[in-house]
Protein backbone atom coordinates (compact mmCIF):
# COMPACT_ATOMS: atom_id res chain seq x y z
CA UNK A 1 0.00 0.00 0.00
CA UNK A 2 2.78 2.39 0.97
CA UNK A 3 4.77 1.51 -2.20
CA UNK A 4 1.78 2.17 -4.45
CA UNK A 5 1.17 5.44 -2.68
CA UNK A 6 4.68 6.79 -3.42
CA UNK A 7 4.40 5.97 -7.13
CA UNK A 8 3.61 9.17 -9.18
CA UNK A 9 -0.17 9.72 -8.82
CA UNK A 10 -0.27 6.47 -6.85
CA UNK A 11 -2.09 8.15 -3.96
CA UNK A 12 -5.03 8.58 -6.29
CA UNK A 13 -5.35 4.82 -6.73
CA UNK A 14 -4.23 3.72 -3.31
CA UNK A 15 -3.99 6.09 -0.39
CA UNK A 16 -1.13 5.66 2.07
CA UNK A 17 -1.98 4.58 5.61
CA UNK A 18 -0.79 7.99 6.80
CA UNK A 19 -3.18 9.91 4.54
CA UNK A 20 -6.05 7.58 5.45
CA UNK A 21 -5.32 8.05 9.16
CA UNK A 22 -5.04 11.83 8.67
CA UNK A 23 -8.41 11.87 6.91
CA UNK A 24 -9.96 9.81 9.70
CA UNK A 25 -8.56 12.19 12.33
CA UNK A 26 -9.99 15.11 10.38
CA UNK A 27 -13.42 13.43 10.26
CA UNK A 28 -13.59 12.46 13.95
CA UNK A 29 -14.36 15.88 15.48
CA UNK A 30 -17.18 16.72 13.05
CA UNK A 31 -20.82 16.24 14.06
CA UNK A 32 -21.63 15.05 10.53
CA UNK A 33 -19.24 12.10 10.99
CA UNK A 34 -21.01 10.92 14.13
CA UNK A 35 -24.44 11.47 12.56
CA UNK A 36 -23.37 9.31 9.63
CA UNK A 37 -22.05 6.61 11.97
CA UNK A 38 -25.26 6.72 13.99
CA UNK A 39 -27.43 6.50 10.86
CA UNK A 40 -25.70 3.38 9.56
CA UNK A 41 -25.05 1.72 12.90
CA UNK A 42 -28.67 2.06 14.01
CA UNK A 43 -29.93 0.40 10.85
CA UNK A 44 -27.27 -2.29 10.55
CA UNK A 45 -27.44 -3.22 14.24
CA UNK A 46 -31.23 -2.95 14.11
CA UNK A 47 -31.08 -5.51 11.32
CA UNK A 48 -28.79 -7.72 13.41
CA UNK A 49 -31.19 -7.71 16.35
CA UNK A 50 -34.20 -8.10 14.07
CA UNK A 51 -32.58 -11.15 12.42
CA UNK A 52 -31.76 -12.68 15.83
CA UNK A 53 -35.19 -11.79 17.18
CA UNK A 54 -36.88 -13.63 14.32
CA UNK A 55 -34.43 -16.54 14.12
CA UNK A 56 -34.55 -17.63 17.78
CA UNK A 57 -38.34 -18.08 18.15
CA UNK A 58 -38.60 -19.64 14.69
CA UNK A 59 -35.80 -22.10 15.57
CA UNK A 60 -37.69 -22.93 18.78
CA UNK A 61 -40.85 -23.53 16.73
CA UNK A 62 -38.91 -25.68 14.25
CA UNK A 63 -37.36 -27.73 17.08
CA UNK A 64 -40.79 -28.31 18.60
CA UNK A 65 -42.70 -29.00 15.38
CA UNK A 66 -41.04 -30.84 12.46
CA UNK A 67 -43.56 -29.37 10.00
CA UNK A 68 -42.34 -25.87 10.94
CA UNK A 69 -38.74 -26.95 10.19
CA UNK A 70 -39.87 -28.35 6.82
CA UNK A 71 -41.75 -25.14 6.06
CA UNK A 72 -38.74 -22.95 6.85
CA UNK A 73 -36.13 -25.11 5.06
CA UNK A 74 -36.66 -23.70 1.51
CA UNK A 75 -36.52 -19.97 2.45
CA UNK A 76 -33.47 -20.63 4.63
CA UNK A 77 -31.74 -22.48 1.79
CA UNK A 78 -32.59 -19.56 -0.55
CA UNK A 79 -31.30 -16.97 1.92
CA UNK A 80 -28.02 -18.92 2.20
CA UNK A 81 -27.51 -19.48 -1.53
CA UNK A 82 -28.74 -16.26 -3.20
CA UNK A 83 -26.05 -13.53 -3.44
CA UNK A 84 -26.56 -10.56 -1.14
CA UNK A 85 -26.45 -8.23 -4.19
CA UNK A 86 -29.55 -9.90 -5.66
CA UNK A 87 -31.47 -9.36 -2.44
CA UNK A 88 -30.24 -5.76 -2.27
CA UNK A 89 -31.52 -4.96 -5.76
CA UNK A 90 -34.82 -6.73 -5.07
CA UNK A 91 -35.17 -4.90 -1.76
CA UNK A 92 -34.54 -1.58 -3.52
CA UNK A 93 -37.71 -2.24 -5.51
CA UNK A 94 -39.72 -2.97 -2.35
CA UNK A 95 -38.23 -0.62 0.22
CA UNK A 96 -36.89 2.92 0.36
CA UNK A 97 -33.12 3.24 0.53
CA UNK A 98 -33.12 4.26 4.21
CA UNK A 99 -34.49 0.88 5.36
CA UNK A 100 -32.39 -1.16 2.95
CA UNK A 101 -29.42 -1.88 5.25
CA UNK A 102 -31.75 -2.90 8.09
CA UNK A 103 -33.48 -5.46 5.86
CA UNK A 104 -30.27 -6.81 4.34
CA UNK A 105 -28.50 -7.09 7.72
CA UNK A 106 -31.45 -9.04 9.13
CA UNK A 107 -31.43 -11.28 6.09
CA UNK A 108 -27.71 -12.05 6.49
CA UNK A 109 -27.96 -12.76 10.23
CA UNK A 110 -31.13 -14.84 10.12
CA UNK A 111 -29.88 -18.09 8.47
CA UNK A 112 -26.78 -18.76 10.64
CA UNK A 113 -28.59 -17.86 13.87
CA UNK A 114 -31.66 -19.93 12.96
CA UNK A 115 -29.63 -22.98 11.93
CA UNK A 116 -27.27 -22.88 14.92
CA UNK A 117 -29.99 -22.32 17.50
CA UNK A 118 -32.02 -25.14 15.95
CA UNK A 119 -29.00 -27.44 16.18
CA UNK A 120 -28.45 -26.43 19.80
CA UNK A 121 -32.08 -27.08 20.71
CA UNK A 122 -31.99 -30.47 19.01
CA UNK A 123 -28.84 -31.35 20.97
CA UNK A 124 -30.53 -30.65 24.34
CA UNK A 125 -30.14 -33.55 26.80
CA UNK A 126 -33.31 -35.61 26.39
CA UNK A 127 -32.68 -37.41 29.69
CA UNK A 128 -32.79 -34.10 31.56
CA UNK A 129 -35.90 -33.08 29.63
CA UNK A 130 -37.57 -36.36 30.65
CA UNK A 131 -36.58 -35.73 34.26
CA UNK A 132 -38.14 -32.25 34.06
CA UNK A 133 -41.28 -33.76 32.49
CA UNK A 134 -41.68 -36.31 35.31
CA UNK A 135 -41.21 -33.65 38.00
CA UNK A 136 -43.55 -31.29 36.10
CA UNK A 137 -40.95 -28.51 36.00
CA UNK A 138 -42.55 -25.37 34.45
CA UNK A 139 -41.51 -24.43 30.92
CA UNK A 140 -39.64 -21.24 31.80
CA UNK A 141 -37.48 -23.14 34.31
CA UNK A 142 -36.71 -25.84 31.74
CA UNK A 143 -35.80 -23.10 29.24
CA UNK A 144 -33.46 -21.38 31.71
CA UNK A 145 -31.98 -24.54 33.24
CA UNK A 146 -31.72 -26.97 30.32
CA UNK A 147 -32.21 -25.25 26.96
CA UNK A 148 -30.37 -21.96 27.51
CA UNK A 149 -27.03 -23.42 28.69
CA UNK A 150 -27.23 -25.86 25.77
CA UNK A 151 -28.12 -23.28 23.11
CA UNK A 152 -25.94 -20.33 24.13
CA UNK A 153 -22.64 -21.72 22.72
CA UNK A 154 -24.39 -22.38 19.39
CA UNK A 155 -25.97 -18.90 19.44
CA UNK A 156 -22.61 -17.35 20.34
CA UNK A 157 -20.80 -18.77 17.33
CA UNK A 158 -23.67 -17.80 15.00
CA UNK A 159 -23.86 -14.29 16.46
CA UNK A 160 -20.09 -13.83 16.00
CA UNK A 161 -20.46 -14.80 12.34
CA UNK A 162 -23.61 -12.71 11.91
CA UNK A 163 -22.07 -9.62 13.53
CA UNK A 164 -19.39 -9.53 10.83
CA UNK A 165 -21.77 -10.39 8.01
CA UNK A 166 -24.32 -7.72 8.88
CA UNK A 167 -21.75 -4.91 8.68
CA UNK A 168 -20.36 -6.17 5.36
CA UNK A 169 -23.76 -6.69 3.77
CA UNK A 170 -25.29 -3.60 5.38
CA UNK A 171 -22.52 -1.34 4.06
CA UNK A 172 -22.78 -2.96 0.60
CA UNK A 173 -26.53 -2.31 0.62
CA UNK A 174 -25.93 1.35 1.48
CA UNK A 175 -23.38 1.71 -1.35
CA UNK A 176 -25.99 0.40 -3.80
CA UNK A 177 -29.02 2.16 -2.28
CA UNK A 178 -27.07 5.36 -1.43
CA UNK A 179 -29.34 6.51 1.42
CA UNK A 180 -28.52 10.10 2.34
CA UNK A 181 -26.36 10.47 5.44
CA UNK A 182 -25.10 6.88 5.51
CA UNK A 183 -21.58 5.41 5.56
CA UNK A 184 -22.45 3.74 2.26
CA UNK A 185 -23.10 7.12 0.71
CA UNK A 186 -19.69 8.35 1.93
CA UNK A 187 -18.04 5.28 0.36
CA UNK A 188 -19.91 5.87 -2.90
CA UNK A 189 -18.83 9.53 -2.96
CA UNK A 190 -15.25 8.49 -2.29
CA UNK A 191 -15.43 6.29 -5.37
CA UNK A 192 -17.03 8.99 -7.56
CA UNK A 193 -14.45 11.64 -6.60
CA UNK A 194 -11.54 9.19 -6.35
CA UNK A 195 -11.02 10.14 -2.70
CA UNK A 196 -9.18 7.00 -1.66
CA UNK A 197 -8.16 8.41 1.76
CA UNK A 198 -11.89 8.81 2.47
CA UNK A 199 -12.55 5.29 1.23
CA UNK A 200 -9.95 3.83 3.59
CA UNK A 201 -10.99 6.07 6.48
CA UNK A 202 -14.64 4.99 6.24
CA UNK A 203 -13.63 1.37 5.69
CA UNK A 204 -11.59 1.56 8.88
CA UNK A 205 -14.62 3.01 10.67
CA UNK A 206 -16.76 0.06 9.53
CA UNK A 207 -14.07 -2.45 10.60
CA UNK A 208 -13.70 -0.84 14.03
CA UNK A 209 -17.46 -0.62 14.58
CA UNK A 210 -17.91 -4.26 13.52
CA UNK A 211 -15.10 -5.48 15.80
CA UNK A 212 -16.29 -3.34 18.71
CA UNK A 213 -19.88 -4.50 18.40
CA UNK A 214 -18.83 -8.15 18.11
CA UNK A 215 -16.67 -7.88 21.24
CA UNK A 216 -19.39 -6.17 23.27
CA UNK A 217 -22.14 -8.49 22.13
CA UNK A 218 -20.11 -11.62 22.82
CA UNK A 219 -19.14 -10.22 26.22
CA UNK A 220 -22.85 -9.91 26.99
CA UNK A 221 -23.47 -13.48 25.80
CA UNK A 222 -20.60 -14.74 27.98
CA UNK A 223 -22.04 -12.92 30.98
CA UNK A 224 -25.41 -14.54 30.32
CA UNK A 225 -23.78 -17.95 29.82
CA UNK A 226 -22.23 -17.62 33.28
CA UNK A 227 -25.64 -17.01 34.80
CA UNK A 228 -27.74 -19.34 32.63
CA UNK A 229 -29.10 -22.38 34.39
CA UNK A 230 -28.22 -21.05 37.84
CA UNK A 231 -30.47 -20.24 40.74
Amino acid sequence: MALAAVYPHGALLLASPVSAAARLLALLPSAAFWQTVLFSASRILGGFFLGCGLAVPLAAAAAARPWAADLLAPPIAAAKAVPAASFIILALVWLDGRSLSLFISALMVFPPVYLNVLEGLRAADTRLLEMAQVFQVPFWRRAWGIYLPQVLPYFRSAAALGAGLCWKAGAAAEVIGIPEGSIGERLYMAKIYLQTPDLFAWTAVIAVLAALFEKLFLLGIDQLAGKAGRW
Binding site: F135, V137, R141, W231
Partner: protein, 189 residues
Protein backbone atom coordinates in the same frame (compact mmCIF):
# COMPACT_ATOMS: atom_id res chain seq x y z
CA UNK B 1 -54.02 -44.99 46.97
CA UNK B 2 -53.75 -48.10 44.82
CA UNK B 3 -51.94 -48.44 41.52
CA UNK B 4 -53.09 -51.31 39.34
CA UNK B 5 -51.27 -52.52 36.25
CA UNK B 6 -53.07 -55.03 34.04
CA UNK B 7 -51.66 -57.13 31.21
CA UNK B 8 -49.04 -54.56 30.20
CA UNK B 9 -47.07 -55.52 27.08
CA UNK B 10 -44.13 -53.81 25.40
CA UNK B 11 -41.91 -54.87 22.51
CA UNK B 12 -39.04 -53.20 20.70
CA UNK B 13 -39.40 -54.45 17.13
CA UNK B 14 -39.56 -58.22 17.35
CA UNK B 15 -38.05 -58.30 20.87
CA UNK B 16 -40.69 -58.54 23.57
CA UNK B 17 -39.63 -56.94 26.85
CA UNK B 18 -42.83 -57.02 28.89
CA UNK B 19 -45.67 -59.49 28.43
CA UNK B 20 -48.89 -59.50 30.42
CA UNK B 21 -47.38 -57.68 33.39
CA UNK B 22 -50.03 -57.45 36.10
CA UNK B 23 -49.64 -56.20 39.65
CA UNK B 24 -51.18 -53.95 42.28
CA UNK B 25 -49.27 -51.56 44.52
CA UNK B 26 -50.73 -49.86 47.59
CA UNK B 27 -48.92 -47.71 50.15
CA UNK B 28 -45.60 -49.30 51.03
CA UNK B 29 -42.57 -50.51 49.12
CA UNK B 30 -43.07 -52.97 46.27
CA UNK B 31 -39.83 -54.36 44.92
CA UNK B 32 -39.90 -54.91 41.16
CA UNK B 33 -37.58 -57.81 40.46
CA UNK B 34 -36.19 -59.10 37.19
CA UNK B 35 -32.82 -60.13 35.87
CA UNK B 36 -30.65 -57.53 34.13
CA UNK B 37 -32.39 -56.41 30.93
CA UNK B 38 -35.61 -57.97 32.22
CA UNK B 39 -37.76 -54.86 31.69
CA UNK B 40 -37.63 -53.08 35.08
CA UNK B 41 -36.59 -49.73 33.61
CA UNK B 42 -39.01 -50.10 30.68
CA UNK B 43 -41.86 -50.78 33.12
CA UNK B 44 -41.00 -47.72 35.22
CA UNK B 45 -40.64 -45.56 32.09
CA UNK B 46 -44.12 -46.61 30.96
CA UNK B 47 -45.56 -45.82 34.39
CA UNK B 48 -43.79 -42.42 34.37
CA UNK B 49 -45.24 -41.63 30.95
CA UNK B 50 -41.87 -41.62 29.18
CA UNK B 51 -42.70 -44.59 26.97
CA UNK B 52 -45.94 -46.04 25.65
CA UNK B 53 -47.05 -49.60 26.26
CA UNK B 54 -48.18 -51.66 23.28
CA UNK B 55 -51.22 -52.83 25.24
CA UNK B 56 -52.53 -53.11 28.78
CA UNK B 57 -54.07 -50.82 31.39
CA UNK B 58 -52.80 -48.68 34.23
CA UNK B 59 -55.45 -47.56 36.71
CA UNK B 60 -55.32 -45.59 39.93
CA UNK B 61 -52.55 -43.27 38.70
CA UNK B 62 -54.77 -40.77 36.91
CA UNK B 63 -53.82 -37.19 37.83
CA UNK B 64 -51.14 -38.54 40.16
CA UNK B 65 -47.89 -36.71 40.69
CA UNK B 66 -44.94 -39.04 40.17
CA UNK B 67 -41.49 -38.62 41.55
CA UNK B 68 -38.54 -40.71 40.51
CA UNK B 69 -34.96 -41.74 40.82
CA UNK B 70 -33.88 -42.68 37.31
CA UNK B 71 -31.39 -45.36 36.39
CA UNK B 72 -28.98 -42.50 35.61
CA UNK B 73 -28.72 -39.63 38.10
CA UNK B 74 -30.10 -37.01 35.67
CA UNK B 75 -28.76 -34.10 37.69
CA UNK B 76 -27.80 -30.67 36.35
CA UNK B 77 -24.06 -31.21 36.55
CA UNK B 78 -23.03 -27.52 36.59
CA UNK B 79 -25.22 -26.77 39.59
CA UNK B 80 -24.65 -27.48 43.25
CA UNK B 81 -27.04 -29.54 45.39
CA UNK B 82 -29.22 -26.55 46.25
CA UNK B 83 -29.42 -25.50 42.58
CA UNK B 84 -30.54 -28.98 41.55
CA UNK B 85 -33.27 -28.97 44.19
CA UNK B 86 -34.37 -25.45 43.25
CA UNK B 87 -34.63 -26.46 39.58
CA UNK B 88 -37.14 -29.20 40.37
CA UNK B 89 -38.89 -27.77 43.43
CA UNK B 90 -38.89 -24.08 42.49
CA UNK B 91 -37.40 -23.26 45.89
CA UNK B 92 -35.87 -24.95 48.89
CA UNK B 93 -38.38 -26.55 51.27
CA UNK B 94 -37.66 -26.35 54.99
CA UNK B 95 -37.04 -30.09 55.04
CA UNK B 96 -34.30 -29.93 52.41
CA UNK B 97 -31.39 -29.25 54.75
CA UNK B 98 -32.35 -32.01 57.18
CA UNK B 99 -32.99 -34.49 54.34
CA UNK B 100 -29.58 -33.87 52.80
CA UNK B 101 -28.00 -34.02 56.23
CA UNK B 102 -29.53 -37.45 56.83
CA UNK B 103 -28.12 -38.57 53.48
CA UNK B 104 -24.65 -37.32 54.37
CA UNK B 105 -24.82 -34.31 52.02
CA UNK B 106 -24.50 -30.60 52.73
CA UNK B 107 -27.11 -28.22 51.30
CA UNK B 108 -24.65 -25.32 51.61
CA UNK B 109 -21.89 -27.10 49.70
CA UNK B 110 -21.18 -24.84 46.69
CA UNK B 111 -19.41 -27.65 44.81
CA UNK B 112 -21.03 -28.40 41.43
CA UNK B 113 -22.55 -31.85 41.14
CA UNK B 114 -20.03 -32.77 38.43
CA UNK B 115 -17.41 -32.89 41.19
CA UNK B 116 -19.49 -35.30 43.32
CA UNK B 117 -18.66 -39.00 43.65
CA UNK B 118 -21.09 -41.53 42.14
CA UNK B 119 -22.57 -42.30 45.56
CA UNK B 120 -23.10 -38.61 46.37
CA UNK B 121 -24.91 -38.06 43.08
CA UNK B 122 -27.13 -41.06 43.79
CA UNK B 123 -28.01 -39.75 47.24
CA UNK B 124 -28.79 -36.30 45.85
CA UNK B 125 -31.02 -37.86 43.16
CA UNK B 126 -32.87 -39.72 45.94
CA UNK B 127 -33.19 -36.56 48.04
CA UNK B 128 -34.66 -34.74 45.03
CA UNK B 129 -37.21 -37.53 44.50
CA UNK B 130 -38.18 -37.63 48.18
CA UNK B 131 -38.52 -33.84 48.51
CA UNK B 132 -40.61 -33.38 45.36
CA UNK B 133 -44.33 -33.41 46.13
CA UNK B 134 -45.65 -36.74 44.84
CA UNK B 135 -48.34 -39.39 45.16
CA UNK B 136 -46.22 -42.28 43.85
CA UNK B 137 -42.47 -42.83 43.93
CA UNK B 138 -40.58 -44.82 41.27
CA UNK B 139 -37.01 -45.73 42.16
CA UNK B 140 -34.83 -47.33 39.52
CA UNK B 141 -31.69 -48.89 41.04
CA UNK B 142 -31.41 -46.15 43.69
CA UNK B 143 -28.67 -47.93 45.65
CA UNK B 144 -26.06 -48.14 42.89
CA UNK B 145 -22.66 -47.09 44.20
CA UNK B 146 -23.74 -46.73 47.85
CA UNK B 147 -21.75 -48.10 50.76
CA UNK B 148 -23.64 -50.09 53.47
CA UNK B 149 -24.02 -47.08 55.76
CA UNK B 150 -25.40 -44.83 53.01
CA UNK B 151 -27.67 -47.66 51.87
CA UNK B 152 -29.13 -47.97 55.38
CA UNK B 153 -29.79 -44.21 55.52
CA UNK B 154 -31.48 -44.26 52.13
CA UNK B 155 -33.60 -47.28 53.06
CA UNK B 156 -34.80 -45.60 56.22
CA UNK B 157 -35.94 -42.51 54.26
CA UNK B 158 -37.62 -44.64 51.59
CA UNK B 159 -39.53 -46.57 54.26
CA UNK B 160 -40.72 -43.30 55.81
CA UNK B 161 -41.98 -42.12 52.41
CA UNK B 162 -43.68 -45.46 51.82
CA UNK B 163 -45.91 -44.97 54.85
CA UNK B 164 -48.06 -42.54 52.85
CA UNK B 165 -47.61 -43.56 49.23
CA UNK B 166 -46.75 -46.50 46.96
CA UNK B 167 -43.02 -46.84 46.30
CA UNK B 168 -41.97 -48.97 43.33
CA UNK B 169 -38.40 -50.07 43.88
CA UNK B 170 -36.55 -51.63 40.96
CA UNK B 171 -33.31 -53.00 42.36
CA UNK B 172 -31.46 -55.88 40.79
CA UNK B 173 -30.95 -58.66 43.38
CA UNK B 174 -31.66 -56.31 46.30
CA UNK B 175 -33.66 -58.62 48.61
CA UNK B 176 -34.48 -55.99 51.21
CA UNK B 177 -37.36 -57.93 52.71
CA UNK B 178 -40.08 -55.97 50.92
CA UNK B 179 -42.95 -57.56 49.01
CA UNK B 180 -41.63 -58.52 45.59
CA UNK B 181 -43.26 -58.44 42.19
CA UNK B 182 -41.29 -60.61 39.76
CA UNK B 183 -41.56 -59.46 36.14
CA UNK B 184 -42.40 -62.59 34.12
CA UNK B 185 -39.29 -63.89 32.39
CA UNK B 186 -39.73 -64.10 28.64
CA UNK B 187 -38.45 -67.14 26.83
CA UNK B 188 -35.90 -66.13 24.21
CA UNK B 189 -36.29 -67.60 20.76
Amino acid sequence: MKLHVEKLCKSYGSRAVLKDVTFTAGNGVLEIAAPSGGGKTTLLHILLGLERADSGWITGAEDCRWSAVFQEDRLLERLDAAGNLRFVLGGLPAAAGKMLDRLGLDLGDPKPVQDYSGGMKRRLALARALLAPSDILALDEPFTGLDPEALARCLSLIQEAAETKPVLLAAHGFGGGFPVFQIPTLETA
